[in-house]
């Protein structure tokens, strides 16, 4: 008997949700969903034969029957359940989503500059769909990645942040997505839309966390539309449960002379795919795209990034670091495309990986495609173990071997940690990374 088509349960879910849950939605949104679902139907789940997926096998996800989390009744969660996953001493608004749905009770929105909109996407779609329509699903194409297509078909909630022209949002906004254990594996489709009009400034952090170790899938998409002279600082901290899977895409479009800084930290999950795709649509843009993945056990984490220089005089800096222990597997696949005519492009891509065990493995595939002739571009990739000369140096000063190794591991990560300009997140990450290292108390003293 041939295997059942893994798309089938998604079709029945989609048909049911369309009738029941999505019934009141505006027609343009229904069309967006249907088109996206049709695209998923055409693409199907990727296999290892697909160039973009050759290092990551999603067959276990395709085989698992995930119930849409949107159909899980209630999201009442005691606030203290969030204690382990919030940033301590965080100064700013926080939107909390439980199993993909916005929780008003757990969220707090501080005062914002006039006209700045920070709300759940569900609220925005209900109360002011015309504010959403020009942007939603415009930046994240559904024809390249079947998971983006699925997210778009099932999208319902997430964050909608709109910064009007010239508005500066000083305090960071934290989007916290938590998943709770369910009797059946569940899938949530968080969908975030961040829009900065000309001259707007914003800092956003996204956190994804599992609260109690269930089997679930987070399929998240964030679209960031960054207007002329606008500046976006975007961060992500992924700490899903150890049996969870996390497939996420961040799509960024940059207008003239805009600045974007993105730092993505991946710590959790059994099977993780993190895509960041960016496009310079006009001259003078600057992008800093960074990340750290730190995995152990049998975790698999795959980072795919694409930076497209479509226009001249833009600068991109990319630095991804990986720390792999146990039998973990990591993938860094980076692609910078300098299109014809994108002269005076300045692009640097770097990937550095640290292997802490013999069984850990990383595939590093840096890439530059240059179709213009007056550009400054380079890329580099290194993978290695802890430097024994450094270990000896520390030991020769009285620091024991395990602590020396922990210090050097943390020091390797530190370059990325130091890029985080949200103090509460930086502190949280520091503690998280330290807590995974042997002799963390001694390491803390040495840093």
């Amino acid at each position: 008997m041939p295997d059942a088509d893994p798309r089938e349960p998604y079709r029945s879910d989609f048909d049911r949700l369309e009738r029941e849950l999505f019934a009141g939605d505006p027609p343009w949104l229904m069309k967006t969903r249907r088109d996206a679902f049709a695209k998923f139907g055409a693409l199907g789940f990727p296999t290892l034969k697909h160039e973009m997926w050759k290092y990551t096998n999603v067959a276990p996800l395709a085989r698992t029957r995930f119930t849409p989390a949107a159909e899980i009744p209630g999201n009442g969660l005691a606030p203290e359940k969030l204690d382990p996953v919030v940033f301590g001493k965080f100064e700013g608004s926080e939107l909390v989503f439980v199993n993909g749905r916005f929780s008003r009770a757990l969220s707090s929105i501080r005062s914002l500059p006039q006209g700045v909109g920070v709300m759940s996407l569900a609220d925005a779609l209900r109360e002011d769909p015309r504010a959403v329509e020009p942007f939603l699903a415009r930046t994240a194409p559904v024809d390249a990645n079947p998971f983006t297509a699925l997210n778009t078909a099932f999208l319902q909630d997430g964050a909608f942040i709109h910064v009007p022209e010239g508005k500066v949002v000083e305090d960071p906004i934290h989007l916290l997505f938590v998943s709770t254990a369910q009797p059946q594996p569940a899938v949530a489709y968080p969908r975030n839309l961040i829009v900065l009009e000309a001259g707007g400034q914003l800092t956003v952090t996204e956190s994804y966390a599992g609260l109690d170790g269930g089997v679930y899938l987070t399929n998240a998409v964030t679209e960031a539309v960054v207007g002329e002279n606008a500046a976006l600082d975007h961060y992500k901290l992924q700490r899903e449960g150890e049996r969870a899977s996390h497939i996420a895409t961040l799509e960024i479009e940059q207008a003239r002379a805009s600045t974007v800084s993105d730092t993505s930290i991946a710590l959790g999950g059994a099977l993780v795919r993190n895509e960041v795709n960016q496009r310079f649509l006009a001259e003078g843009g600057e992008l800093s795209m960074n990340g750290l993945f730190s995995v152990t056990g049998t975790q698999h984490t795959d980072t795919h990034t694409r930076i497209e220089h479509l226009t001249p005089h833009c600068t991109s800096r990319e630095l991804y670091k990986g720390i792999l222990d146990g039998r973990a597997r990591g993938v860094f696949y980076g692609n910078i495309i300098v299109h014809k005519g994108a002269q005076k492009t300045n692009a640097v891509q770097t990937n550095k990986n640290l292997l802490l065990s013999r069984e850990a493995l990383v595939d590093s595939i840096p890439g530059l495609q240059i179709l213009a002739n007056d550009v400054k571009c380079r890329h580099g990739s290194t993978t290695g173990q802890i430097d024994e000369d450094s270990v000896f140096y520390l030991r020769s000063r009285g620091i024991d071997s395990d602590t020396a190794r922990s210090i050097l591991t943390y020091a390797f990560a530190r370059e990325i940690i130091d890029l985080i300009r949200v103090p509460a997140m930086r502190a949280t990450l520091g503690v998280l990374l330290l807590s995974r290292l042997p002799n963390s108390e001694a390491v803390r003293e040495a840093l």
């Binding site: 000896f392 140096y393 020769s396 009285g398 024991d400 071997s401 050097l408 990560a413």
Partner: protein, 252 residues
């Protein structure tokens, strides 16, 4: 009891036997210079004493305060008061100079049963020692040796030595790559460390540093053995006549 007693020490790096039977006795309060041509085994001796792992000891014995030094892990040697100033200090981005040193000092203090120092006490000690080496405060906030000039690295080694207060300090070619001004600073830093309960072993190719750190004893290491020992005048003679004559007299 001698502070350090090396007897018939043999060691190899890779397949090559470098030390072929070194004998050396160092007492508290003494400054020894170990000189020799390139490849004679000077740095190997320094590294074997500090416990570097890729050096294999083939035979002989090293007693430090009467204890078997070679049986100790490198960190234990450091905690017991042995210090190696590296010829090539390692650059470690992401590890702050000050925090690292405080951590090192406290691990040594714990071992000695002393109370750990808090940041305040530590800064008190450090500020004074920094002046000694002509280092400014920004230095503490930088990553360990990261992007340091050759001179800064060597000064940092001696600064660490001054803070950690070892009982036996081995300076491995600390003079190499230093201009005369830097050499004077480093040497004066070392000289302030001279004490009757502390010994210093200066490993060097050139006599120059010994003009500033005047040794009590000079040993010439050739082809893995100490072939000649004497007072300070031996270093001056080596400078005048080169290593050739000692090598020849060693063979005969």
């Amino acid at each position: 009891m001698a502070l350090l007693e090396v007897k018939g020490l043999r060691a190899k790096v890779g397949d090559k036997e470098i030390l072929k039977g070194v004998d050396l006795t160092v007492n508290r309060g003494e400054v020894h210079a170990i000189m020799g041509p390139n490849g004679s085994g000077k740095s190997t001796l320094a590294n074997v004493l500090a416990g570097r792992l890729n050096y294999e000891v083939l035979g002989g014995q090293v007693l430090y305060e009467g204890k078997d030094l070679l049986a100790m892990k490198p960190e234990l040697r450091a905690r017991e008061g042995l210090f190696l100033a590296f010829q090539y200090p390692v650059e470690i981005p992401g590890v702050g100079n000050a925090y690292f040193l405080k951590s090192a000092l406290n691990s040594i203090r714990r071992h000695r049963g002393q109370e750990e120092l808090d940041a305040m006490d530590f800064m008190g000690i450090v500020t004074e020692k920094m002046k000694l080496l002509g280092l400014d405060e920004a230095f503490l906030g930088r990553s360990l040796n990261d992007g340091f000039s050759g001179g800064e690295k060597k000064r940092n080694e001696i600064f660490q030595m001054a803070v950690l207060e070892p009982r036996l300090a081995i300076l491995d070619e600390t003079d190499s790559g230093l201009d005369i001004d830097a050499l004077k600073i480093v040497a004066s830093g070392v000289n302030t460390m001279r004490a009757k309960d502390r010994a210093i072993v200066v490993v060097t190719h050139y006599q120059r540093i010994l003009n500033y750190i005047v040794p009590d004893f000079v040993h010439v290491l050739v082809n893995g053995r100490i072939v000649k020992s004497g007072g300070r005048e031996l270093a001056l003679e080596l400078e005048k006549r080169g290593y050739g004559w000692v090598e020849e007299s060693a063979v005969s």
